[in-house]
Amino acid sequence: MESKYFLPAILNGGGIPEFGKESQLADLSCSSEVTNGGTSFKVRVFFSDHNIYLVFPDSSAVKLPLKHILSINDEKQKLFTRQIIVRYPGEDFYFMGLKKKESASIYDKIFDICFKREVKPWQKAEREARKGTIDKGLFRMIEDSREGVRELVKKTLEQAGDLDLLVENAKQIKYVLDSARKKIADKAKESGEGEEDEDLIKANAFVQEIGLVNVTTKAQLADSDRFYTALGHEIFSTLNSYIRSNGGCVDAAVCYGILNKARGVMIVSPKDFILGCEKMKALGLGLELATIKTEIKDRNIRVLQVAGGFEKLCFENLQKLFDQKSGKYPRVKVSDVAKDLKISGQLALYILEKAEKSLILCRDVSPAGLVFYKNFFGDFTDGAK
């Protein structure tokens, strides 16, 4: 069969379809290095609408379906006009360098074919950058990726949740960010302590902002025990006065939010927060992480509370709340306590029931809901009133 392009015999066998004259199969035989796992091969590259074919010197061929390509990165290298890194699921990648003058148009053609369905916004930016003389820095790449993520999420929501699309493109973003992280680490090693370029700083901030890695803290305190000790002290100093002024017991999730807000971009993960709290308790600083079991099945609450029990402080705060109410027999609702002590409704109910069990309060249940009064039963039984 004759075609516009050379077709090795091997491509005609093994289930590979034949291509007609109108085929878009292109011979990139001038380009020809493929690196996989550190070994380089000279190859001839062919591509069609759906696949890239790499033909090795021994005439064996590899078919790379275009639809499985996760990303194509464009980087200028010394030996090649353009360089294509094609990543596939399973971490295999192929590296193709294009030397010929017309490599730019061929590259664009590959690019268009690979992403025939739609060119992603960050890919457009990359292509524009390739066409021009702008040296696309690390931060720009991440920025474009982030912009791409935003657009993608927006589009996903508009499409009423095309999660497959989201997942597919999330892989792209993850790859870019993984690359960014590696580049940050490599560049930090190269530049040495205290030398960081602007792009690296911005990229660093972005990576931390989205919580991928707490570069500075964990990097500075590589010893995890020192890190959690420092974190435990930080948790205590940030939250101690807040917890004591809010009933002595606050939802752990609220504490987590307050801590990270105080830390700014250097957020800690929930796991690190818990480990930091456990370290804080071990250090005997005065706060502890506790689990409150409620009467509702599987609805336990994790709280940060004054060590050794918070009941006394809670009851003092409850007393103040009752004192603020008018009337001979004031009453409080769960929502009053939650609002006044700035805690969740579930925790407020727990505190009220704790006070009830301590004979400080009694309850009234009516169609209007549950309210608590000061326990007067003992007064009347003793004949005091």
Binding site: L359, C362, D364, S366, V371, F376, F377, T381, K385
Partner: protein, 185 residues
Amino acid sequence: MPDFQFPEFHGLPPFYTPQPVPKTREQQIDLWSSLIISYCHHESIKIIDIISFLDSPVCNNKTIERKMPQSLLEKIITNLKEDGHAEWADESHSRAYIFYKSPAEWGVQIMKIIDDQGLLGEVVPIRRLMKLLSEENKEFEGCDEFIFFRSLKELEKKDKCFIMGKSQGIVTSVDEIMGVKFKLG
């Protein structure tokens, strides 16, 4: 007769909510028990129908829109029964006798009067006994025959007296009593 004066706690909503804490619940039931006894005595109620009683002013406070739940009333009757101030009138527990004084308390009163009258060791005919008790203590005027009979049975159980029936067989009411012999010592 003046209207019954409800105590202050009768106007407090938690009084009508079964309290989950044991100590508080115990105090709540004690207060209700005293209130029901006082109310029934004032209104001369000797036997209550559970369902109807829940709509009475003592259980249903329309001012604060609170009503005692049936489960709480049943717990209160059970408590009164243990103290001797109530007794179920039927097996279905739909009605209950409420005793202003328990049979044991009436029994103490009876023995005091008998002792004061020097009738220990004597057989006292039932009608004479009833007349004597009413004359010596006005409270006996309002004493229901059923509770009076229970009081005598209580004394008999404690071996303080012996009830003689008009005929052979177990005596089950005041009408079947011929006389009562009060024992010495």
